[in-house]
Symmetry: C2
Subunit: 145 residues, 2 copies
């Protein structure tokens, strides 16, 4: 069970990079090289994030991408939603056969509760928070792993 797909993972890393260089335009190429993300794949992700108003772009030479939204206002829950779709447990048979399969309903009830827990956890972790964690880690200047 993979919680984060490459898309979400890359998107987060790209945002962390933009977040640490606010006010300047950073090119897709720079991000791609620095974060080791396939160039064209990254381009697609960046365009998607523009559509969601997370970042802005500038075309042409010396162009690139820049944070638009406040890092603290970007929970990774949103990125998961954008790149992996809303967290859903399993489609309900509701429409097909209303409650013919009651056992399914019970399951569904429990799972929706969990879904909320999961979502609220992912909501707590914002790009801003990660950036601060990052700074702290760099400040301490010791290896990790």
């Amino acid at each position: 069970m993979k919680v984060l797909t490459k898309k979400t993972d890359y998107a987060i890393r790209a945002l962390l990079m933009l977040g640490s260089r606010r006010g300047e335009y950073v090119s897709a190429k720079t991000i791609s090289t620095d974060q080791d993300i396939p160039y064209q794949f990254l381009r697609g992700l960046l365009q998607e994030m523009i559509r969601y108003d997370l970042i802005v772009s500038k075309e042409g030479a010396q162009g690139g991408f820049m944070m638009k939204k406040e890092p603290d206002e970007i929970p990774i829950a949103q990125l998961i939603e954008i790149f992996q779709g809303k967290v859903q447990v399993s489609e309900c048979m509701f429409r097909k056969q209303i409650c013919a399969n009651r056992s399914r309903c019970v399951l569904r009830h429990e799972i929706m509760r969990i879904e909320q827990v999961v979502n609220s956890e992912f909501d707590k972790v914002t790009i801003g928070k990660l950036l601060r964690d990052l700074e702290a880690a760099n400040g301490m200047a010791h290896g990790c792993g």
Copy 2:
């Protein structure tokens, strides 16, 4: 983002059925028809659950499957693990380039925390609990949805 795949979903429903008819052998065909699960697909799931000692089988006419483990001792976290693999966030670049990508580490740290929260939630929900919920729901005998 799909939390439960068909496999897990079907497995849970099959177990709920076996759990509500403990002590008797229920055939794959019966489960398949009753729960609307593709027959051969279900067979595979049942065999897998035998390997994990959740259920036992009896071959031949009047054969079928029966609960082995106590329903309260089967958290759906285990079923998710069996049918969808352990919850993992995203593979760490750790081995490739040790901490060259520190931002990834920070992310990883947060995510592993969430992973624990999620797992502990899924651990709380057992087949036994779902069975009791189910009984209660049936006892109340009113529609749901």
